[in-house]
């Protein structure tokens, strides 16, 4: 008897376990979002790091940030005083040194078009919604001289460092001089365009552009972008840093800079392998009426270090995260199915404002892909709605909503080209018949009856690729491959590891090897130099032949007219002429199809949970100027920190 009984009991136990395993209905968001976090940061955030200069035979003796560090005051952060983030910080913080770009300190240091201004500050703040630069450390708008070779701005009298001393023009000039002297990334990126940054008097800064043979600035756009992309650092502290590192660039940039002097509203409170916390400086100069007139609302800014998007999404759903910068798959289910007080900038798809254009590049040297007909046929056959629905869970505008060009979906960029003039060149995808017709007309047909089209007697067969584990990109690449099959072009997929992929793709001085016929890379987002910078990255032939090409045009496209237009645009101020030039570029891009946009992606994902804090930026929220959905810490988006309120004060 006992045997039968126990057989029965064990069967029941096993069955019960199986059922528990199957029956647990996790919210879909929790289950579905598995993406490569590190990678996402790279794509979305454009983490800019800086170089190291000298040859070191042995390791340089550097005291790395001691982690974990001691907490000074509070043992638990009061929920009502803390704003929690996710999606910025994916590993432990390494240093607090704004001259280094290897600090992996996403809450405090990120220079670029939408610079992070929690701890360090830029003279101006870029607003991606209206494309304008608003003064922060600066007092009023900057002025160009008549020839657009010198840019002048004043600093606010109220602007102070954390040690109480005023921020002066001398600090701005010395910061630039240091970047150049030590060849930091900021220095390397700008020294071809900026000749000097000078202090005219303690409050007035003059930025002198480098000029070409004709006396024009090499690129006034990049000069203008400098003032909202790069921090001002204190001269006295920089000198201290130089002194202790003995003028050695490697040591200077590897210094953990725990003693750094800052001008922003927050500074280091606590970091370890699981979190980073900034605390407000209640003496912050910005409470002066000439700037914000008050302190930012949260006392603490905290960021838990999650190891993947799933964990971050779960914390957002539980209300342990207020502002989410990560990709939350099927984000709408959080409010539609679970009724949580969670929202995105736009209430409906695409939920976010698209800013960058993840792009499929063709290897233009591959047999067949040197033919426009083949490139265009594949591009128009791709099922973009499926990509947008699957890879982005509809968090991208469709190509019906925002027809393809070289512009991102922001209204400012969309107004820069003549849509009607290129209407017959734009496509929305799934045009199988059109693609077949295009190939037939070009004489690219299936000549041997094997079901695949042939070109010069050889079957059209390609490999489409992107890095392994970048799940949204992989989903997109699969859709591209499926399109090939429908029009008689064999496209298989392959996913190398990122470390291999990036080495191959960025080596633009040799032809791409087999296996990289169609491959995905990103494009630039929003900024003062856009869309010019993005178009330059996508199409300029100056990148061809670079041994380490991190800029773009990885397929090797070359068109003298494009290069000429790219040279003319930065110095052009007449809107009508600019529009004509941009329209021409779009026309060329959509005709030659050296690469094609697969989806739109926001500059930063911006999803908020309003359980504790409310009044975050949303579309048409009435703010003037509009506060962009930049997670409350980037560019003009930082205004959000002064607008948010407690739900239950």
């Amino acid at each position: 008897m006992s045997r039968k009984l126990f057989s029965l009991v064990s069967a029941v136990v096993v069955l019960a376990m199986l059922l528990t395993a199957c029956a647990a209905p996790t919210p879909q968001v929790v289950e579905k979002v598995v993406e490569k976090p590190v990678v996402q940061t790279q794509v979305v955030e454009k983490v800019v790091e800086k170089p190291v200069e000298k040859v070191v035979e042995k390791s340089v003796v550097v005291t790395a940030t001691p982690l974990p560090t001691k907490a000074p005051e509070a043992l638990a952060l009061p929920r009502q005083e803390t704003l929690y983030f996710n999606g910025f910080q994916w590993g432990p913080v390494v240093c607090w040194n704004p001259y280094s770009s290897s600090c992996n300190n996403a809450m405090a240091i990120s220079q670029g078009d939408n610079a992070r201004v929690t701890m360090f500050e830029t003279p101006y703040l870029y607003n991606m919604l209206d494309g304008k630069q608003y003064p922060l450390l600066a007092d009023g708008d900057y002025q160009w001289n008549a020839t657009r070779t010198e840019l002048t701005f004043k600093l606010k009298k109220a602007a102070k460092w954390s040690d109480g001393t005023p921020v002066t023009a001398e600090d701005v000039a010395y910061t630039w001089a240091t970047h150049v002297k030590y060849n930091t990334a900021t220095g390397a990126a700008n020294k071809e365009y900026i000749a000097a940054v000078e202090a005219k008097d303690p409050q007035t800064v003059v930025i002198k552009a480098k000029v070409d043979a004709s006396g024009k600035a090499v690129n006034p756009l990049i000069v203008a972008a400098y003032v909202s992309s790069n921090y001002v650092l204190q001269k006295a502290w920089t000198q201290k840093l130089e002194q202790r590192t003995g003028g050695d660039a490697t040591k200077l940039m590897a210094d953990p800079a725990e003693d750094v002097v800052y001008s922003g509203p927050y500074h280091k409170f606590y970091t370890d392998d699981t979190k980073v916390i900034l605390v407000r400086n209640d003496n912050y100069w910005g409470k002066d009426p000439s700037m914000w007139g008050k302190l930012p609302a949260p006392k603490y800014l905290a960021h838990m270090i999650f190891k993947d998007n799933a964990a971050g999404s779960a914390a957002l759903a539980r209300g342990e995260v207020d502002v989410s910068q990560q990709f939350n798959s099927n984000v709408h289910l959080l409010w539609l199915n679970y009724g949580l007080p969670i929202s995105t900038y736009l209430p409906d798809p695409p939920y976010h404002i698209g800013a960058s254009l993840p792009t499929a590049f063709y290897n233009l040297k591959a047999p067949g892909l040197d033919q426009v007909a083949v490139r265009k046929a594949i591009a128009i056959a791709v099922d973009y709605p499926t990509i947008i629905a699957n890879a982005m869970t509809n968090q991208s505008a469709t190509f019906e909503q925002v027809p393809r060009s070289l512009m991102n979906p922001t209204p400012g960029e969309q107004a820069l080209y003549d849509r009607a003039a290129v209407k017959n060149l734009q496509w929305t995808g799934n045009d199988i018949e059109g693609a077949k017709k295009l190939l037939d007309e070009a004489g690219i047909k299936d000549t041997d009856g094997d079901g695949w089209r042939d070109y010069k007697g050889k079957k059209l067969s390609y490999v489409a690729t992107c890095p392994n584990g970048w799940s949204d990109w992989q989903a997109a690449i699969e859709v591209v491959a499926a399109a090939g099959k429908k029009i008689g072009i064999e496209i298989t997929t392959r996913y190398p590891e990122w470390s291999v992929y990036q080495t191959v793709v960025t080596k633009s001085d040799t032809p791409l090897p087999a296996g990289y016929d169609i491959f995905m890379m990103w494009s630039a987002g929003t900024g003062v130099t856009q869309p010019w910078g993005r178009i330059r990255n996508l199409l300029s032939s100056e990148w061809v032949g670079m041994p380490n090409n991190w800029n773009g045009n990885w397929g090797g496209y070359s068109n003298p007219r494009v290069d000429e237009l790219l040279k003319l645009i930065p110095n052009e101020t007449d809107p009508a002429k600019l529009k004509a030039m941009y329209t021409e570029l779009v026309k060329i891009y959509l005709t030659d199809v050296p690469s094609f946009t697969l989806m739109y992606r926001p500059e930063l994902f911006h999803t908020v949970n309003e359980t504790v804090w409310t009044n975050f930026p949303h579309k048409d929220d009435g703010t003037k100027p509009p506060v962009p959905p930049m997670n409350c810490i980037n560019g003009w988006g930082v205004a959000c920190l002064y607008n948010i309120k407690l739900v239950k004060p």
Binding site: S2, R3, V14, T20, A21, T26, V30, Q42, K46, V47, P51, V52, V55, V56, A64, T65, P66, L67, P68, A71, A74, L75, A76, L77, T82, G91, P92, V94, C95, S100, S101, S102, N104, A185, A188, A189, K191, E192, T250, A254, D272, D273, T274, A302, I305, F306, K307, D308, A311, A314, A315, E320, W498, S499, T503, W543, M546, N548, W550, N551
Partner: protein, 336 residues
């Protein structure tokens, strides 16, 4: 005694030879991976740099700093020299942090999670396995299917099931982190309680799977021993059951102890799955990122620690075997 020393030196010689080869492989294998770690670092920093010479300069600076532009034999000599001084250099993936600092900040979490989990899983598993073999019948019938079922669970599956049931639905435990999201490490009761609560799911996700495997192994070994001739002989001799059981389990334990030693040796590699699913701090995920980012110094340092721990554990076990189990020593001595 002479035989034992011979056995000892024989083992020691093998220990050293294996260590040298393992050390070499630890150095060479990561460097044989395709791809260029410096290019990966340049990727992070060159996106704002638009002029070609700027990017090239950055690339050169890093290859020289990390020495990846030198021939492999030269890199090896520098590596050996530094390792002898206990210096593993900079981590590529977390530059300018040193490898020692990276390991220091996460190794405690890993050991605190892995060591108790391995010991508890081993103890419970072996006890259950032995009981199943000895008591047979009902106990065995119930235990075996469950053990087989549970031990075949993929680790991530178990972790996610525990998370969904106990964290998402029942809300008994948190879903992620090593301690409360709103806390800062200190010696207060709140913090300690938070650490204990956060510890449970990652811990049991490892233990539950370990129990099954250990129980199956122990049961099989015990059944084999219970049917051995010496047991039958002892029974004929009229030796008490209790005493026989002690003989049996001592013998059955031997392979299990080897397993335990290896598990402890490799524990520094981290509980990768538990760390990822529960966003638990530790070395496993750090190492994974190191491998993805071709962080040679970090990979070499961690694998070196694992190598030393495994070899030492093995060595100690073999030496102990020589003492515990005279048959092994005798066999080895004869061969020698």
């Amino acid at each position: 005694m002479k035989g034992y020393w011979k056995y000892f030196f024989n083992k020691l010689a093998w220990f050293i030879v294996t260590f040298i080869f393992a050390f070499l492989l630890n150095f060479i294998l990561p460097r044989l991976m395709p791809g260029d770690p410096v290019a990966a670092i340049v990727a992070r920093l060159a996106q704002g740099v638009s002029d070609a010479t700027g990017v090239q300069a950055i690339y050169r600076q890093y290859t020289e700093l990390f020495g990846t532009n030198r021939p492999i034999p030269e890199q090896f000599i520098i590596y050996v020299r530094n390792v002898l001084r206990g210096d593993f250099g900079f981590s590529f993936s977390q530059y300018p942090r040193t490898v020692a600092d990276v390991i220091r900040s996460s190794i405690l979490w890993t050991i605190a999670l892995q060591f108790p989990a391995i010991i508890v899983g081993w103890l419970i598993g072996n006890t259950l396995g032995a009981l199943a073999a000895y008591r047979k019948g009902a106990f065995d019938k119930l235990l075996m299917p469950i053990s087989i079922f549970v031990s075949n669970f993929p680790a991530f599956g178990m972790a996610i099931i525990l998370m969904v049931i106990f964290a998402v639905h029942l809300k008994w435990f948190p879903t992620s982190g090593g301690y409360g999201f709103d806390l800062i490490p200190n010696l207060s009761w709140d913090f300690i309680r938070s650490v204990i609560v956060h510890y449970q799911l990652p811990f049991w996700s490892i233990v539950i799977i370990a129990i099954g495997g250990q129980a199956i192994g122990m049961r099989a070994m015990s059944i084999y021993e219970l049917n051995a001739d010496y047991v039958k002989f002892s029974r004929f001799m009229g030796i008490k059951d209790r005493k026989i059981v002690r003989y049996v389990f001592r013998n059955a334990m031997l392979p299990q102890i080897t397993g335990l030693a290896l598990a402890i040796g490799t524990m520094v590699g981290g509980a990768l799955v538990a760390e990822i699913v529960f966003s638990y701090p530790g070395l496993g995920y750090t190492l994974l990122n190191g491998v993805m980012g071709q962080d040679y110094p970090l990979i070499s340092a961690v694998t070196l620690i694992i190598t030393i721990m495994v070899l030492t554990a093995n060595f100690v076990i073999e030496i102990l075997y020589g003492i515990i189990d005279p048959r092994i020593k005798a066999a080895q001595a004869e061969q020698g």
